[in-house]
Symmetry: C2
Subunit: 171 residues, 2 copies
């Protein structure tokens, strides 16, 4: 028995995006308790030339849905980037997860050898499916998920490894 | 054809740890150019109750080697946590990568169904190998790799997505 591209993309991304939704729930609660506008957290960044929390969350989901769609040989669905509240961002994550779950394991059969072309500014990156998952999609999703977490921790939201790995659950 | 546990652990971790070594090289250069002690970067944190850069780098590697060893049914090799310079941290990463590369694909055959027991404080977490890789090892390695990157970016080291994904190379 070997493992599947579906298990290493849809399952992994669904789980971590669910955790991001949980970070955002804790962020909303933290802002309420500390009596400030949660929009301050949404606009927070770790450096002037890094993206703010809202964009980190949008991009984490977009990379996940884009990667799974491409691995399945589909065009990824496009979402407008118009969220202005934590509630709206959590709804976007839920829509993203719904899309991921709509892609059956059968659609990713053989995806490890599929040719993936990825527009990147003026260039087009080309990968085989497995390489795309290993070196582009997984690192990139976790980059934005972790940076969202780091922005919140830097701004005093009480989060720990259990929240990061498992949405606050024991295991 | 399916993909292997080896491809999704050894290959993924080797690649991302190589990128961390590259972040550290850029960090050393940045400290030199900006004329401050690089130890300041090694001690930097994103929050008072988060770990500093040195620990983020040590832990990223330890999780990778611990996870691959456990998936192979081995005890992970232990490294002393005694690095005090960027050069020493890069040497530790190189030792970690050497260990990862020493584990052949055959040692991870069937690892997806292996019972993994992980000491976690007073408790022991129990996983099947695939679940351990999906929900614990991969997210955890990328958590520490990204946080190392975020600490450096927060402290003005010039890094971008290409550095994160590919050690500064085009693709």
């Amino acid at each position: 028995m070997k493992i599947s591209m579906h298990a290493m993309s849809v399952d992994v991304f669904t789980h971590t995006l669910g955790n991001v939704s949980w970070f955002l729930e804790k962020a909303a609660r933290s802002a309420e308790q500390r009596k400030f506008d949660p929009g301050i957290l949404l606009a927070a960044r770790l450096a002037p030339d890094m993206l703010p929390l809202t964009r980190q969350v949008q991009i984490a989901g977009d990379i996940a849905k884009g990667a799974v769609a491409r691995l399945a040989g589909q065009e990824p669905p496009r979402f407008e980037d118009n969220e202005t509240s934590i509630e709206q961002l959590r709804a976007r994550i839920a829509r993203t997860v719904d899309f991921l779950k709509s892609v059956p394991a059968s659609a990713l059969e053989g995806a490890e050898t599929r040719d993936i072309k990825l527009p990147a500014g003026e260039r087009t990156l080309e990968f085989k499916g497995l390489d795309f998952l290993q070196r582009w999609a997984i690192p990139n999703v976790f980059f934005h998920v972790t940076t969202a977490y780091d922005i919140l921790r830097h701004n005093g939201v009480e989060l720990g490894k259990r929240d990061f790995l498992n949405g606050g659950r024991e295991q």
